[in-house]
């Protein structure tokens, strides 16, 4: 995968499959300390302690269609490739959090990519999940919160075509300012 945003999309689908109601995504580009941080937290079903220990293996998955699960393994591999660090915490019945640190100037680090498309894809896929997305750089921060959007929309659904188009533009414009 060629964008951090695609890794994030993939990991967030784990949260959706875990029946999360709330999803928190944070991307921090810290140029001063040369660190990119990606943090994802959900309130889904969580994992047993034993399963968390082996979940970074590509041969561990909950799905029945195939016997490999690559999402978390890919993400962990990318952190290691970029002199970074990977961390996962999960509690059964409470939720899961995943953190990835990358060296920003590392030659193998791929671009953050199109986060607005990632968020919109997530909303389309799981319109009932509430998503908070925070993007922070040395210039400032931007927070997108589906709860706020829902408040304005009232009886209009979040996955309405025109609303989605608006959200996509809204996120990309606000991120562009911080780059």
């Amino acid at each position: 995968m060629k964008e951090i945003a695609l890794y994030i999309l993939d990991l967030c689908f784990n949260s959706i499959k875990a029946e999360a109601d709330n999803l928190y995504i944070e991307v921090v580009s810290d140029y001063e300390n040369d660190i990119l941080k990606v943090y994802i937290k959900d309130d889904g079903c969580g994992m047993e302690e034993e399963f968390v220990k082996k979940v970074t293996s590509p041969f561990v998955t909950t799905r029945k269609e195939r016997r490999v699960g690559l999402g978390i393994s890919f993400f962990k591999e990318l952190t290691e490739l970029c002199d970074g660090r990977f961390d996962i915490n999960s509690k059964k019945g409470i939720g899961t959090e995943i953190t990835g640190f990358f060296k920003l100037s590392h030659i193998d680090l791929i671009p953050i990519g199109d986060m607005s498309s990632t968020i919109v894809s997530l909303i389309m896929s799981a319109p009932n999940v509430d998503i908070v997305f925070k993007y922070k750089t040395n210039k400032g921060e931007f927070i997108f919160d589906t709860k706020k959007i829902r408040k304005i929309l009232k009886d209009v659904s979040l996955n309405n075509v025109e609303v989605l188009e608006w959200i996509k533009e809204f996120i990309s414009e606000n991120m562009e300012v911080l780059k």
């Binding site: 689908f13 890919f74 929309l153 209009v156 996509k168």
Partner: protein, 121 residues
């Protein structure tokens, strides 16, 4: 810059539109979005479908994700569900194909047989 006032406007317009067309077609488009789908380009496909629907002012079609069905090498897979009709599955969809599927199949009602999964099995 997009503003929240604009969102309020979209809300009002959408409500008017929904009131105009009471009869919903209920067509559903599902894009394979597991790791295999995403790596093969499912996100741009989903965005292309959204863009095409928005350009043509189609508000009654729902776009959703679907998981991996074990045919990872044929991703991105796109399913079109129309009420009362059999599901049509398209394989190896890209942005251009996605746009044509929306226009030819979803809007005009003619499935594009050359691109369905049966051709790849």
């Amino acid at each position: 810059m997009k503003s929240l006032e604009e969102l309020e406007k979209i809300r009002k317009e959408t409500l008017d539109k929904i009131n105009l067309r009471k009869e919903r077609t209920g067509t559903r488009i599902a894009v394979g979005m597991a790791t295999c789908g995403i790596a093969a380009g499912a996100r741009p496909v989903m965005m292309a479908i959204l863009d095409e629907l928005s350009k043509r002012n189609i508000v009654d079609v729902i776009v959703v994700e679907t998981g991996c069905i074990g045919m990872c090498k044929l991703e991105p897979l796109v399913d079109v569900y129309e009420p009362g009709k059999e599901k049509v599955t398209y394989a190896k969809v890209d942005e251009d194909k996605a746009r044509q599927i929306v226009v030819e199949h979803v809007i005009n009602g003619h499935p594009i047989k050359e691109w369905t999964i049966e051709n790849y099995l």
